[in-house]
Symmetry: C2
Subunit: 689 residues, 2 copies
Amino acid sequence: MGDARETSESNIDVLIIGAGPAGLMAAASLAHLKVPFRIVDRRRTKIFTGQADGLQCRSLEIFDSLGFADRVWKEANHMIEICMWNPGPDGVIRRSDRIPDTIVGLSRFQQIVLHQGRIERFFLDNIDKYTEKKWGGVERGTLPESLEIGMTGEYPVKVVLRGLSDEEVEVKQVIVSGEKSVGNIGSDGLFRSNLGDAAEDEEEELIRQSKKRGGESEIVNTKYVIGCDGARSWTRRALGFELQGEATDFIWGVMDIIPITDFPDIRMRCAIHSANDGSLMVIPRENRLVRLYIQLKEVTPDASGRADRSKITPALIFGAAQKILRPYKIDYEYCDWWTAYQIGQRVGTSFSDDTNRVFLAGDAVHTHSPKAGQGMNVSMQDSYNLAWKVGLVAKGICKPSILSSYQSERRRVAKDLIEFDHKFARLFSGRPASDVMDAEGVSMEEFKDAFLKGNLFASGLSVNYGPSNLVVKPGNPAEQGDGSTRSSLLEGTPHNLTEEEFAKKQALASGLPVGMRFNSFKVLNQACARPWHLQERLKLDGRFRIVLFAGNILAPEQKQRVQTFCDKLDAPTSFLRRATPKDDKIDSVVEILTIHSAKRTETELLRDFPEILHPFDAHNGWDYNKVFVDDVSYHEGFGDAHTNYGVNKERGCVVAVRPDQYVGWIGELEDFEQLTNYFEGCLLLRDQA
Amino acid sequence: MGDARETSESNIDVLIIGAGPAGLMAAASLAHLKVPFRIVDRRRTKIFTGQADGLQCRSLEIFDSLGFADRVWKEANHMIEICMWNPGPDGVIRRSDRIPDTIVGLSRFQQIVLHQGRIERFFLDNIDKYTEKKWGGVERGTLPESLEIGMTGEYPVKVVLRGLSDEEVEVKQVIVSGEKSVGNIGSDGLFRSNLGDAAEDEEEELIRQSKKRGGESEIVNTKYVIGCDGARSWTRRALGFELQGEATDFIWGVMDIIPITDFPDIRMRCAIHSANDGSLMVIPRENRLVRLYIQLKEVTPDASGRADRSKITPALIFGAAQKILRPYKIDYEYCDWWTAYQIGQRVGTSFSDDTNRVFLAGDAVHTHSPKAGQGMNVSMQDSYNLAWKVGLVAKGICKPSILSSYQSERRRVAKDLIEFDHKFARLFSGRPASDVMDAEGVSMEEFKDAFLKGNLFASGLSVNYGPSNLVVKPGNPAEQGDGSTRSSLLEGTPHNLTEEEFAKKQALASGLPVGMRFNSFKVLNQACARPWHLQERLKLDGRFRIVLFAGNILAPEQKQRVQTFCDKLDAPTSFLRRATPKDDKIDSVVEILTIHSAKRTETELLRDFPEILHPFDAHNGWDYNKVFVDDVSYHEGFGDAHTNYGVNKERGCVVAVRPDQYVGWIGELEDFEQLTNYFEGCLLLRDQA
């Protein structure tokens, strides 16, 4: 071992490396699934200022599935409108357009802004709340030293971790002294940006130091590793994977300030193209702060393609902003944080090792420019996609083959993101065309179009996962455009749907595209009439769900259809019983939620619905929280769920929903065999007794 | 002193006795006002189960003004519908009516249910957050021993407090052993109920014991005492006041259980009159619990008017419930809490001492039956009404004469409550009439009418305070129906409005009755387009507010009216400047909020509004959070505030709002002198420099 001290050794289901938003999302997800995990991070504390800030609709829906969207919503600044400013014929900037920041009707949430440090705080509180034994928290000042993937045993991955001393853990933070004489120059984020000079082999140096002083190390044997350790990911390098892509010549500065300005839209999100001084984005934030993204036209990369960071100071950045905003004046007394970065887009060659034991998520597999407010969101969505799969496989609920869908689903999202960012950066950093004859300039119409498209993309709600054993739709799972072939995707996917067959099934719920997230509308609890956004009933707890649109339950023929469906579900040999561990409750692996369309006041839970839809428990009585009605509420309007989901009110349909709220399968009440096939494709079913 | 140890002595602005909901509301309010206070309670811990549970709309609005309505809303059970069950012609109970539990459109909140222990937890967290120096928390195991009201000095009230030992603080809790063989018999609340046998002189016994063992005591000199020490209030007895009223013969039991039942409306609020077995109320609660209020017809008071508590067991109570609910079956495995009480209504003879130094709130001055879900609400609303008055007088912001309005405002509410409860108890506990000829029975139509009226009353939103120096409307402040004459109410109230003059002013904002709470509709922030419920901008921080309905600010004539109004506000001798302490910000005593009716996108904050409406600060720039527009939002509809408030969109009006959100004065933009009079009536204005 070579170490001065004895090395301890222990087992854990999942080891998460890195406690930024992606790592914390993985940890929170596993906590909600009750899967044992550990999470380590080199840094001593969480982020306090600066860094990422934009939160997409989808991220808020995910936070809600964990139970803390309300805390974020309450503290955040809500960005409502985007104002586009362009040069007029006289070259002076003027407001040319206003568009809603979030597309209307897309989600029950809208895009908001809150700094990463608060998000991390909410994650930590949430993990603490959902961890069964008292959670020890993130193991900080801890670095992985080696990683070996074995082929056998319950815990085949061996990771050596090393604890750093307080001095070792201190990241060298170069403070650039401010040239501006008045005002507080905030924290410098440059050391973290891609213009910083932290070398990739810094970890190795730290490990050498620690070994030299006889520092502590330990062996962790684990089922799975999730590497969320950022753009310079140690885990990625340990796997021998790369980030592929290129840097551009565009250099941008970022400042979080409390502005003193006569610019009228300083509390709106603004995209400003000046005639000749570059572009600027305004992101209004919480606590009176405003973030400015400022193009630095005066700084250009050298022959090696890297910009000289010593030139970049707050005074230089702010000077550029003042020029762009002319004739409006802007100044500040307080600066909270600043940084600069060189725009570039890179994506990881692979998102996991060949045996699906070690996974990469977040910045470790995709980096791009921060302006679109995408980075933290896509990163968290990576690990939200991954963690329940890893967790359910570790628990023996799901087949290991579902793990291949992580790369096929998320690498394509990353590639789409990179592509969007590449195009957007060019349009935003380009000089605006002075007229239609100005071929070298950027057309402001084209920019607006890109912005609008980007707006949908940026919501996180356009994600549409391809076919796999988790998503039943036509197509070859092996051709998911992720650049890799993963034969295990095909295992246990006996779904050979033609486009025509699929279109018929999809038409049963045209508002719930298979492969996309389950949209949310309000329905009422049948037993108590309380309105719920349906998504509020799709919390992340590792359960798949069957949403039974039961149609008009008071029509005798329809009632019989529902009864027949429920009899099959309730049969001793049904997939539902076979998926459920022997002593667990019947809703512990797959939960059934019912939505019917009869009048609430004419319908009664116990009288009109088979018991499998509201299971009985000797201690708690019947379950009153699983059957809902699409009816008018007293105080919160009418969700009109059937119309919005495109489901027939009389006949209904059946929808299988993944634990992460994505639609996996749609069919008729009679398609019980296909429904069984879906769950056979992804769940480990017990043999019949 | 006679004590073995030396007695310490200290000063504090406000001493609160009792840390139930009323006491905690006083403490939270003072914390938000930054007024130093202490709060003591005899009990060792807060409530964990049972006790009060219903929360009115108004209580939720108040919680929101303190910042924690969201926590309550999230955890609570939402009661949506009331089902009335009455005997049919065959004598069997059947559902006769459904009505919404909260009147539609009354408030942005609806009535909900959450047990008192959680409310107390949220209060404690909130006080902690808003207390400037780290708050030591409630001083538990502490009892007042004597109280002297002096006439001079800054801290004229002298209270001796005594710390109890752990044994002394234990309340004797008689556990009644359950006769029911199956199931958990929960905590017994009988010792706290009015059937318990805790004697009124128990405190004196405890003090004797403490003195005997040489226990610690301390002297606290204070400006004000708020006694929230419950139905057997030590403070009330120290003042020599009484609760006046009578007990009825009606005895009711209460059980919090997880029911196992085929009764179809068990998750609704139900009022059930059986033909001959008594009445029952169902209150569905959080965590699958249901509270049953059960009439005990078999228990009657003895000659002394008191019921024999030894007869009352969970088996007796539950047996009565089972009879009332027949032919439906009900059972339980888990009981969380139970108690019983004898219905009675009592109100305190006076709510404060003659010098307005010692005040009583909550159960100390009114007791009644718990079924209407009123007790905790009215108690908290008492101290919410009182605490800001005491706090602002203690700080030297308000005139001491405003303190008399506490009794005139709240004693009338208490009397209305008592009267309602008296009538309701008779109707609910009475046998339903078998037909129209059954003169002795209770008409179910009459009961439903009372229920509907009670519903408005129970929202807490029908409260309408009479004239005083805080509420400008016609009438004699001394005749406020509270049974007392308080001449100081007349001091500094130079408002001699005729009914006719007042009607004209009231017509300027017909949806904002003077004396009632400021209703809430959504408006948009002019600078960032974010929708806010206006009430969200009326947080409790001790500030009065002027809501300036600025009308159509883009019409030149109207703009001039606004300019003239603002010039007067901004003048060095204006009441606004004279009310504001020299080095404080201009919005620190009276905040001005503006709502205009021009189109948002055509209006600009800095260009169109005088600076006094969005004050400048060298560090923070202009204030972007004070000017709102009544316009359509992208995602949250149209608040239509002018229509809802009954305000003319072109000309607007001016509304003075008290720190507790009650409307104090309404006038035209030209009525600056009357507005000045209003603030001269309640604020201490500095002499002109």
